[in-house]
């Protein structure tokens, strides 16, 4: 092979690798936009002391999901600050009474049986252990979901579950968590 051929080949290889490196994640994952900006940090400082103040648990310990509009509207019936995001939120969601469609990063696949009762109430696992330090983040994380399965693979992977369960000597079987 001539020098020219080698250069040609290596350039092509580098170009193909770069294209794959940059393009493949986009080809596999789809980004789900959040309905608006939201800062957990500001809310943690001004509105609540702990996660449970907004992210409620029911009486039996089960998790009630992402806070509904009522929880926001309690404070944000009228603008409290001067940000454009808040004005937009009140105009588009609070006044018409429309629930914002938050993109849930931690939603688990349908064949997973995850219970907040056993983990938070009985196992005393802290929110941050699995969800990370969301409370001090200034913006919502971008949510990417797999184009085929529709599930987010960025957080709460099975490996993380298995690692913690191994350390604590819990649930060695598939059906201990799957259904």
């Amino acid at each position: 092979m001539t020098i020219r051929g080698e250069v040609f080949f290596l350039t092509g290889l580098a170009a193909a690798l770069a294209a794959g490196w940059a393009g493949l994640p986009r080809a596999l994952d789809r980004r789900i936009p959040q309905p608006m900006e939201f800062s957990h940090k500001v809310h943690a400082e001004k509105a609540g002391q702990s996660c449970e103040d907004c992210h409620r648990f029911r009486a039996d310990g089960s998790f009630a999901g992402i806070p509904p509009l009522d929880r926001c509207a309690g404070c944000h019936a009228a603008p409290m600050g001067a940000t454009a995001a808040e004005k937009k939120f009140i105009a588009e969601y609070v006044t018409p009474g429309r629930e914002p469609r938050w993109a849930a990063e931690s939603a688990q696949p349908e064949n997973v049986y995850f219970s907040h009762i056993t983990h938070v109430k009985r196992g005393k696992v802290k929110c941050e252990s699995c969800h990370g330090n969301v409370g001090s983040s200034n913006a919502l994380p971008p949510v990417y979901v797999d184009r085929i399965s529709g599930y987010s693979g960025k957080v709460m992977s099975m490996d993380a579950c298995v690692e913690c369960h191994r350390q604590r000597g819990l649930e060695f079987s598939c059906l201990g968590c799957h259904k």
Binding site: Y113, S115, I117, T118, S173
Partner: protein, 232 residues
């Protein structure tokens, strides 16, 4: 809360009504398959009729939940089957299954079923689906797992549970037990005990001819099977 779950089934009590099969299908989201035949249908528990020429008896057979040497575990190339060391339940992971059906060939109890079709529920019936059991897709094998969804719920509340078939049986022929606490009753037998599969499902009958099914290749199986055992 380590338990070793098992079942005691009193064949003399079973009337063959099939309530257990219906309750199981409802609990575990087993779809009605209009095109299914006896060989291609899915039912995690099946009530077999056996007879000796004069009298009949009915034998409910589901996954017998073999011990550590479960034949289906050994043959699975996908590690889709495991025996839970904590509960003794033989679990099948349909998401891992590739549909080779080695396990169905290996299972001496014919307790495993293959999905020949994607599940379809008649209009309106999908609202009765159980959220604690994931529906299975076409091309995978499934079987009884002692109502794992109920076990999950029981773990949450710290309470007890019984599988749907046990709950539904009007004759109370099926009993769900922790084998650590209740040893199998006297005269009970297990199906094909000679194979050494160490199942956790125990049967009981006062009739001699019914007890012989323990040695046959399957309840009401090939004629003449098990005779060797009788002679010896």
């Amino acid at each position: 809360m380590n338990a070793r779950y098992g079942m005691f089934i009193d064949i003399d009590r079973c009337t063959g009504c099939g309530a257990c099969m219906v309750a199981c299908a409802v609990e575990n989201n087993i779809p009605p398959l209009p095109a299914a035949t006896d060989r291609k249908g899915v039912t995690w528990i099946r009530v077999y009729r056996i007879g000796n020429g004069q009298r009949s008896a009915f034998v409910p057979v589901m996954c017998q939940h073999c011990g550590q040497n479960a034949p289906c575990v050994h043959v699975c190339p996908q590690q889709a089957v495991d025996v839970d060391p904590a509960t003794g339940i033989v679990g099948q992971m349909p998401q891992r299954c590739l549909g080779c059906r080695y396990c169905m060939a290996a299972c001496p109890y014919h307790a495993r079923y293959f999905n020949w079709w994607d599940p379809v529920w008649p209009r309106g019936m999908e609202q009765t689906l159980n959220p604690d059991a994931a529906p299975r897709m076409r091309g995978v094998v499934e079987k009884c797992n002692f109502c794992q969804g109920r076990l999950h719920r029981a773990k949450e509340s710290g309470g007890q549970f019984v599988p749907a078939c046990v709950e539904a049986c009007p004759a109370q022929a099926i009993e769900f037990v922790d084998l650590h606490q209740s040893p199998p009753p006297a005269n009970s037998f297990r199906l094909l005990e000679k194979l050494g599969t160490d199942p956790k499902t125990y049967y009981h009958s006062k009739r001699d001819w019914v007890r012989e099914i323990a040695n046959a290749p399957g309840p009401g199986g090939a004629p003449g099977a098990g005779k060797e055992n009788r002679r010896g």
